[in-house]
């Protein structure tokens, strides 16, 4: 009796499989095609150099309108932004005991302006999970703006959220030292230019 029931079950399962096999295969194929199609659509909208360029231009003009003129000139000329630290014994301004360098899509780097010693890297990102054009990455200047806003508004909170690493994990320390030298030279030239400009206007006024 049990043997007969078992045999009948096996036969039934085999029949059902035969009947539904074509439908299951078609459904699997259909699903694969749909998946491939959506992946293709994502890759189609994923990267458009023209759109990315326009996005970056918009981002640069927004960044320029938010930060100080000198900071904008620094970012335009050097490709990074320095933000004075506000948690040290001296207030956030030139002469603060530490400062940060903000690079687009790279960690925020803390250093001592007096000695140039690198303190740490703070890995922080602003991923837009809605991925409007297939990417979660903000344009470069928007990433810098987001870091600048978060750092100037809530330095302690941003640093607490970031993953802290020793210098050199993601940014080459030699490159940072070169950037600090470029920054020092850039500042000297700027001061020199403004002195010349002031002297020229004094001469004009005297004449």
């Amino acid at each position: 009796m049990a043997l007969a029931l078992g045999t009948a079950t096996v036969v039934l399962v085999a029949l059902l499989w035969e009947l539904s096999r074509s439908r299951i295969t078609a459904a699997i194929t259909d699903r694969r095609v749909r998946k491939r199609g959506s992946a293709q659509r994502v890759s189609e909208i994923g990267y458009d150099p023209g759109r990315e360029l326009r996005a970056e231009q918009r981002a640069r003009s927004l960044l320029r309108s938010c930060i100080e003129d000198e900071d904008w000139a620094m970012y335009r000329d050097l490709g990074f932004l320095r933000v004075w630290g506000g948690l040290g014994d001296r207030a956030r301004a030139a002469g603060a005991s530490y400062a940060y360098l903000i690079y687009p899509h790279r960690p925020i780097l803390a250093y001592l302006p007096q000695t140039g010693a690198l303190l740490s890297e703070y890995c922080v990102a602003f991923p837009d999970l809605s991925r409007p054009y297939g990417s979660a990455r903000l344009p470069d200047s928007d990433d810098v703006l987001a870091k600048w806003m978060a750092l100037t508004a809530d330095e302690r909170g941003l640093i607490a959220d970031a993953n802290m690493h020793l210098p050199g994990r993601q940014i080459d320390p030699d490159q940072v030292r070169r950037d600090l030298l470029r920054l020092a030279r850039w500042e000297r030239e700027r001061i020199g230019r403004s002195k010349i400009g002031r002297r020229a206007s004094d001469v004009e006024r005297a004449a």
Binding site: R51, C123, V124, L129, S135, L145, A150, Q170
Partner: protein, 87 residues
């Protein structure tokens, strides 16, 4: 006042714009503000101090936005960790 959102592949997008003193427009601004916070965005108001120093202020409700603010900028919440591929 303008509500802007930083967007990948686009730059900033104007979400809403209106006069905060007009009740109807203020309501629309508040709704747009809440929608963005509910979507997990951070909101920042760029400010300028009396000595000309610029910085930003993070706000968690529309009531915290200074009445004379020209812009509120929404951007994705910070997440610790950037990819090593950035190197």
């Amino acid at each position: 006042m303008k509500l802007l959102r930083l967007k990948p592949g686009h730059g900033e997008v104007v979400l809403a714009e209106g006069d905060i003193e007009a009740p109807e427009q203020e309501r629309e601004l508040i709704e747009a503000f809440r929608r963005e916070l509910d979507a997990g965005m951070w909101a920042a108001v760029p400010t300028e101090s009396r000595d000309g120093r610029r910085q930003a202020e993070l706000v968690k409700s529309f009531a915290d936005v200074p009445r004379d603010a020209e812009r509120v900028i929404f951007f994705p919440r910070a997440a610790g960790g950037a990819s090593r591929a950035a190197r």
